[in-house]
Symmetry: C2
Subunit: 448 residues, 2 copies
């Protein structure tokens, strides 16, 4: 029943009946995705893939994000390349219950197809995006944690199915066709955790997007699969959970009752999530000190009491470049106190190698306290004039308890997009916020 | 070490050092593949996929088999569509130890890429094909039987890796690049047994071909993956064997010592393999009776003693069409005795519904004897003039003990290709036999 349940729910979902909180979550997810896809677009990982595949591009219908003046590819390649770009900085969204990054695979397929098709409205797009994200997250919950423990990259292994559902909605597939689209997506299981640290990690959401799009395209022309693709004895869930205990029926029964997209979280800083409380606190302290006219030069010592995982994962003392700095809580704290910001620009190689940054970084100490929560920290900053500043961060920004505000999402977008598009970042941000209301998504995308 | 072992062996394999028995096996595998790909090319499953994807085709560089006058697509789509066609009649080759159908995924990627690239010689192609097939089969052996038992379609789940190795060879990848190509292929795990009986079954080898080609294309441009992709704790073998006991090192150590391609078997009849002994015996009896001037009209009764699986799987008494006839040992025996042949033409709907065929089919009886081997049968044919003919088939044609001869492969090729290309089947057969000696494979393919 699971495949039928999902197909039936997805095909009958209507934009007009989405709760406004869900619509808002979809708008924020899409906006954050576009920022990440543009922000990652000039990364070497994307460039290599582009170089390898451009000889095979078909008719140029669909935008490749991040190119001034516009660059397009066929929808399948656009889905792949934008999907890679959206994940390459590890800066995308997270559904914390399963650590799925849900929007990348779904939106990459959806936007590429919407632009190819033309005439898709913003509300229609948001409804399809929501359907796809709910699909990925519900089936992800059903196979969690066995699936991830075995070694699958759950973002892409569930994302292809979400992408098929989303594109299938834009195609107005019948319930039966939608079930086949889901089935064709289930046989393309993408992503191994073993690849973390290599280019292939970000290939995963891109290929999942492309696989889901392909599944929907085939199903639209009557291509058949198994109507029990998800739940059969040798169907997707049992196979990918490796003899675990998939709970498909339980989670799919909650479709439309409990909306996973509402719990989608966004990373405020482009580095390991365990550093986020310390960075958040340092940025807050930057503003408090600034209000009193105290500059970072006055700082003599910074003490951070943190969860033990912070020390275990991010205690790189002398990072040599941006990539290493992602694993340095000392760097994150230093740039937070120096600039009141810890965006991609503060993780650029030249900032990591800057003398002022290094000097402050060397003054930061961190000690593990296992009583602290993972998203909690206590900070103390000592200044040369004897002043002392303290900050207790109970939940870091970007957590479910303290979600990023729209203003913070905008700052994140503009900061990363400016590194690619320069002064066009502000107008791109406005265009991205407005896509959900567009008359024709294709035109809105070209305005990016 | 497994990934490195495979990459190192594959990159250093040389055409000139292949044993002649291996070369011969590669020529036969390629020839049989081309016949199946042309034979399946006008099947509805292929047509639907073609219709769905032709709007996305890139530059038309690579032949889609089975179209008079030539039809081409970009290499990625040609790999996909030819791969589907090669498997759609379940008439392709089989490596009996793992029931991998090895040539489909590997050759579909390889030929599409060779034609795109140009200037690839026949011997170079055969060497790459051999490398790819050995790769698929060795890693297949390493995860057999756990992998198949869980529910993976082992043809495609191993075939993508074989395709990457094969294409990577034509690209002259370095050992390091080849390891990355293997790694990128490992994260695209294609094919669930749950899909058997639907269009998606033949999608599997097609998509595996395309995934392997993609992996090689990316690796060629420096795209990276894990250097322990196959063997890591959370690498391919452990993940897809679901906690089984992959024997990678054992089988990869035999690369170049024990050649799996030499044990590649070819199906003589387009139906379930368990019927093959009875059909084989009936065809032999056809010729014996013909030599004595006795025609099938004289037959009053046929008795077959068969392995119990024959009754369990293929005892459809009154098949209504070609698909059902594949599950009727009675039909297979009847056409064998009537025509001395059981090719695709004898499984056409109009033959299945023919009165003479039905009349003889109704005279065939089969009884299970568990003492018989699976590829063994005893046949007795009674005639109206009192004559009786007997035949003991110890090993059916197409088994390892009685492999199909080149002449039988040619007959199989011509029979299925004639249904698509008509009188051009003979010249296509000659061209296909000659590809291994071609100066430029691209030109040879266009002559098909």
């Amino acid at each position: 029943m699971a495949t039928k349940t999902l197909a039936s729910w997805a095909t009958s979902l209507e934009s007009s009946s989405l709760p406004s909180s869900v619509k808002q979550a979809a708008i924020r997810s899409l906006y954050n995705y576009i920022g990440c896809a543009i922000g990652g677009s000039n990364h070497a990982t994307v460039t290599k893939a582009h170089d390898a595949l451009s000889p095979f591009f078909g008719k140029a219908t669909s935008t490749l994000f991040g190119h001034k003046g516009g660059l397009r590819a066929d929808a399948q390649h656009a889905a792949l390349l934008n999907g890679i770009a959206s994940h390459v900085h590890d800066y995308d969204d997270t559904m914390l219950a399963t650590i799925i990054h849900p929007t990348g695979p779904v939106a990459s397929a959806l936007l590429a197809y919407a632009e190819y098709k033309g005439g898709v409205s913003g509300p229609e797009l948001l409804c399809a995006l929501t359907a796809g994200i709910e699909a990925s997250c519900k089936i992800g919950l059903a196979v969690w944690p066995e699936h991830y423990d075995i070694g699958w990259h759950i973002t892409s292994s569930t994302g292809g199915i979400g992408a098929a559902v989303a594109v299938g909605k834009l195609m107005h597939l019948s319930e039966e066709q939608m079930a086949h689209a889901i089935g064709i997506a289930t046989v393309q299981v993408i992503g191994l955790r073993e690849m973390f640290g290599s280019d292939t990690k970000s290939f995963h959401p891109g290929r999942a997007a492309q696989s889901g799009l392909l599944a929907a395209l085939l199903a639209e022309k009557g291509y058949t699969s198994s109507p029990q693709a998800l739940e059969a004895k040798r169907g997707w869930a049992n196979v990918v959970a490796g003899g675990g205990t998939p709970k498909l029926q339980k989670y799919l029964a909650e479709l439309g009752e409990k909306w996973e997209i509402e719990a989608n979280a966004f990373k405020p800083f482009p580095c390991g999530i365990v550093c986020h409380p310390a960075i958040d606190g340092c940025i807050q302290l930057y503003y408090e000190m600034e209000a009193k006219g105290i500059r970072a030069e006055a700082i003599t010592k910074v003490e951070a009491r943190v969860h033990p995982l912070v020390i275990e994962l991010t205690s790189k003392r002398t990072p040599k470049n941006g990539l290493e700095a992602k694993f340095s809580v000392f760097h994150g704290a230093a740039v937070g106190l120096l600039f009141g910001k810890a965006g991609p620009a503060q993780y650029a190689d030249n900032v990591v190698q800057d003398e002022t940054v290094i000097a402050l970084r060397d003054k930061v100490n961190a000690t593990a306290e296992k009583e602290l929560a993972a998203d909690e920290t206590y900070l103390t900053v000592h200044c040369s004039d004897g002043n002392t500043f303290e900050k207790h961060v109970k939940h870091a920004v970007g957590s479910l308890e303290v979600p990023m505000s729209d203003a913070q999402l905008t700052e994140k977008f503009v900061d990363q997009v400016a590194l690619v598009l320069g002064e066009d970042a502000e107008s791109a941000s406005e265009a991205a916020w407005a896509i959900g209301e567009a008359h024709d998504v294709a035109k809105a995308l070209r305005a990016l």
